[in-house]
């Protein structure tokens, strides 16, 4: 299945329930009943139920407004005699008022009820009543004691003046209380009972996108009580995660890690949200993928092994389902890069060995793969490549050694660090010497992990033959497209090349074009011959993007090759539907 279809399948259970409008009037009845039950949302059950329905109710309010705005006040009362009740009950439920845009839509609805020229006492009364509700939403404020109200009035302040400041102070004091409880445990003067913390998490659900509440949300996420079970409301995590993914709240990485560690569904949703962005139908350049990844905070959070394992598991699943789609491979590679980068930044406090991240892999292989090519002089790159190849080969071909998971696991580990395969492909083309068997094996394995030894050997032979031809042409002054075509041609008396082998050969040809002195002259012609279809063009742009990305990160100086690669990439993108 292709990557895109895979995503659609996954999106199924998480998509919003389709609003089957069985009719506006039945919705109306439904919500009227709900509102009556909820009343002022003063009990645990009503609060919980209200929170569950907040987004849907907001949608309903929008519908109500759309209907009301077309009518004048009298018509509204005729058509919906109980509209007043509905709107009033909404006003008195603080959870609804606090949520997202509900208060705004409610105000719009109430505005529709105002009659600009009331003709009789009924209409006047309705106006008066509506004005009262609007006041309630916008300005009324009630303190526990009269004294405070008198004080603020005496100073000439209206609720609009001190409300933001009061909210800030309340949040600050709650945050410091939470922090005190978190740090001092049983030694605090004011112990926060678990019910209070749970209540706070409930209250935060509708308020999660209000910037003033951010410090409280953060403090709740980081707070660790002393009870064995989770003390926060699960819907709280959902709401925070949603808001975070839609960028409606900004949280520090420590809080996000707490969120994902405490609530697994949030982590899964976050990863799927990322997949959605990365594996969309539009081609994403690796640079952009890197931005998305860093933005999502997943690589940084993955420094915590539990999070890494879960995200990695989801990548593995995606890879299996899409049969190794290139987009997924690219995503894994960039993810690992960002992850290692984040890990190194925290290196001073490196708490977990790599075994915790890759428990099923040989530690020495992991260490080898984690090496930075940048730290090794280019002439010596063949050494680590050879070691990696030998280690992998031993694991893959040794049937009895089941402990490292078999070919797929080895391959899955290797693709995390796919840069090595790219380097191998480049080395093979650039070097004058006889292609080392180890490198041939490594490439063949990386492109086609499921091959049996015989098929792999065949691939290696084919590739060796093509390389032989290419080497002869490398320094040729009269290089032509036809020459290259001949070099890459399949021999007539053998079985046709399997598609993955063809893919590998295309790759080598592209490398050749980028590195051979005469390559730039014939590059376009060759590519047109090699990639006549959209799919193949897509493949070519992917390879070019990957190559440029790698050169940037390795700080490779290769001005001519770079220029050519960039030009080709631009042309291919402009030309077609590939980008």
């Amino acid at each position: 299945m292709c990557a895109h279809c895979f995503l659609q399948c996954l999106a199924g259970p998480f998509s919003k329930m389709a609003q089957d409008s069985v009719g506006f009037s039945s919705d109306y009845q439904f919500w009227m009943q709900k509102l009556s039950v909820w009343d002022q949302a003063s009990t645990l059950e009503t609060q919980q139920d209200t929170c569950l329905h907040l987004p849907r109710f907001q949608e309903f309010l929008r519908q109500v407004y759309e209907v009301l705005k077309e009518m004048d006040s009298n018509t509204i009362i005729e058509r919906f005699p109980t509209i007043g009740q509905l709107l009033a009950k909404t006003c008195w439920n603080p959870f609804i008022l606090a949520f997202d845009e509900s208060q705004k839509i409610l105000i719009w609805c109430l505005c529709c009820l105002i009659n600009k020229e009331p003709q009789n006492s009924e209409e006047s009364k309705l106006n008066s009543w509506t004005r009262g509700l609007l006041s309630h939403i916008l300005s009324a404020f009630r303190f526990d004691t009269k004294e405070v109200g008198l004080f603020t009035q005496g100073l000439g302040f209206a609720p609009a003046d001190y409300c933001p400041g009061l909210l800030k102070n309340m949040v600050l004091s709650l945050v410091s209380e939470l922090r005190e409880n978190h740090l001092n445990g049983f030694n605090t003067q004011r112990r926060m009972v678990p019910e209070k913390i749970r209540f706070l998490s409930r209250v935060c659900i509708p308020l999660v996108t209000l910037p003033d509440i951010e410090p409280l949300v953060e403090a709740l996420l980081i707070y660790h009580g002393h009870e064995p079970q989770e003390v926060l409301w699960p819907e709280f995590f959902d709401a925070v995660n949603e808001a975070f993914l839609l960028k409606k709240i900004s949280l520090p990485i420590s809080a996000v890690v707490c969120l994902w560690l405490r609530h697994l569904p949030s982590l899964e949703k976050a990863t799927l949200h990322l997949f959605d962005k990365l594996i969309s139908s539009q081609r994403n350049f690796l640079r952009r993928i890197e931005c998305f990844l860093k933005d999502s905070l997943l690589p940084e959070a993955a420094c915590h092994p539990a999070i890494f394992r879960i995200v990695d598991e989801m990548f593995r699943y995606a890879l299996l389902e899409t049969d190794g789609a290139p987009e997924v491979l690219a995503a894994i590679q960039v993810f690992t890069r960002c992850f290692v980068e984040a890990l190194e930044k925290k290196n001073k406090q490196l708490k977990f060995t790599f075994k915790t991240y890759f428990p099923y892999a040989s530690p020495s292989l992991v260490m080898m793969l984690l090496q930075h090519p940048k730290e090794i002089p280019q002439e010596l790159w063949h050494q680590p490549l050879k070691h990696i190849s030998e280690m992998l080969r031993e694991m893959v071909e040794d049937q009895t050694h089941g402990s490292y998971g078999g070919p797929f696991e080895c391959w899955f580990l290797f693709v995390h660090f796919g840069g090595w395969a790219d380097i191998a492909a480049e080395q093979l083309v650039m070097s004058e010497a006889e292609p080392p068997e180890a490198l041939l094996w490594l490439l063949a394995f990386s492109y086609s992990p499921r091959d049996r030894s015989l098929q792999r050997a065949q691939t290696m032979t084919e590739v060796k033959a093509v390389l032989g031809h290419l080497k002869k042409l490398f320094r040729s002054p009269t290089l032509s497209a036809k020459d290259l075509q001949a070099a890459a041609a399949e021999s007539q008396d053998r079985d046709p090349r399997p598609p993955l082998c063809q893919k590998l050969i295309r790759r080598l040809i592209l490398n050749f074009l980028l590195w051979a002195p005469g390559g730039h002259v014939i590059a376009r012609e060759v590519i047109t011959l090699m990639a006549p279809t959209d799919e193949l063009t897509h493949e070519m742009t992917g390879l070019l993007d990957q190559t440029l990305y790698r050169w940037d990160h390795l700080c490779m100086e290769a001005p001519k090759s770079r220029k050519l690669a960039r030009e080709l990439l631009e042309e291919l993108c402009l030309a077609g539907t590939a980008c």
Binding site: A98, C111, E117, L138, L155, G156, G165, L166, S173, K196
Partner: protein
């Protein structure tokens, strides 16, 4: 410049009227003009925010107005008290009109149309009036949720209310016209006469305990109710307290002991005055030979237990204050004759009870 100042005057009057029944004859056109004026002043605010000369001139005019109104004996605080307020003058006006029941139906309807145009207007820019009003509504319900649907004891939230009132008080103190230097004192005395005194005392204590902070950078925007230099206003408060002995007495009498100790710790001048009061109260106690304790001569005097409690709290404070208190007690004891035996000097007995007599 002059026209701008006049405009400011007219708008201030308009703002004052908007709360009264004088708006009942207003029609939609009047509302429109009023909103336009407000919008203009808001534009002035954003345009001239960094222009020191214009800003100062406007503020001076506002202060002059306040002084004029103040002397008339009634006690209004004007709607616009400083340059900052201009940035929200349309919000202020709108809210006053929205709450004013005297506003006619047609005018009210028009007002709503202007303030809440509906979904067509892109609301991503939080600067729109609709956005500000809606945000206010949301914050209001947040406060309500955190406070009224609260759980169990709410002392933490009571503190927030006190702290907010303290911040408001200090803000007003900063704005009060200071020409004669008496402005703040007169203002505070007027508040004392008019407002519930118990709450006022608590707010003063909270204000005196607010953390001192760095000077406010020039031209920076402030949200009303969140002042950044509370320390400044604190001085005015201390000065006023020291000048008004009756307030000081009530302050020391009614507030919880621990709170007073904290305040004394922060403000040395107040600690001296507090000590003075305590020694005064001490002198009113007589030793009752039969009961073997110190008793108050009259019912309104402070009792031994209370006096002891206060001194005990003060002695548990950190060094500068604690030492000051002990020194004062020692010197009182010396003045009395430096008795070592209990029952003769209250100061000896206090020191003995505190474990520091010798």
């Amino acid at each position: 410049m002059e026209s701008l100042l006049q405009h400011l005057e007219r708008f201030s009057e308009l703002l004052a009227v908007s709360r009264t029944t004088h708006v009942s004859p207003w029609d939609p056109a009047t509302v429109r003009r009023a909103l336009q004026w407000a919008r203009y002043l808001r534009h002035v605010h954003s345009r001239f925010g960094r222009h020191v000369r214009i800003r100062t001139a406007l503020e001076r005019r506002l202060q002059k107005r306040w002084r004029q109104e103040g002397t008339s004996g009634s006690f209004p605080v004007p709607g616009l008290t400083n340059f900052q307020a201009l940035g929200r003058c349309d919000l202020l006006l709108s809210l006053r009109l929205l709450e004013n029941r005297a506003l006619g139906d047609a005018a009210y309807h028009y007002l709503l149309q202007q303030l809440f145009p509906g979904p067509g207007v892109p609301d991503a820019d939080e600067e729109t009036l609709q956005g500000s009003l809606v945000r206010l509504a949301r914050r209001r319900s947040a406060v309500h949720m955190l406070r009224f649907t609260g759980y169990g004891e709410n002392s933490v939230l009571e503190d927030s209310v006190l702290k907010t009132q303290a911040e408001l008080l200090l803000q007003r103190l900063r704005e009060v016209p200071k020409a004669e230097g008496e402005g703040p004192s007169r203002f505070l005395s007027a508040l004392w006469d008019r407002l519930p005194q118990n709450n006022f005392l608590k707010v003063i204590a909270a204000a005196l305990l607010l953390p001192p902070s760095s000077p406010r950078p020039q031209g920076e925007e402030l949200e009303l109710g969140t002042p950044k230099t509370p320390g400044q206003g604190g001085q005015e408060l201390v000065r006023w307290l020291l000048a008004k002995s009756d307030v000081m007495a009530a302050f020391c009498h009614n507030l919880p002991v621990g709170l007073l100790t904290s305040v004394a710790g922060r403000h040395p001048e107040l600690s001296r005055a507090y000590l003075g009061l305590l020694t005064d109260w001490g002198r009113h106690l007589r030793y009752d030979l039969e009961k073997g304790t110190w008793v108050a001569a009259e019912s309104q005097h402070v009792s031994w237990e209370e006096l002891y409690g206060r001194f005990q709290s003060l002695c548990q404070a950190p060094p500068p204050l604690r030492d000051e208190v002990l020194t004062a007690l020692e010197s009182c004891k010396a003045q009395d004759g430096d008795f070592q035996v209990p029952g003769l000097s209250i100061w000896t007995d206090l020191l003995l009870a505190l474990g520091r007599g010798s």
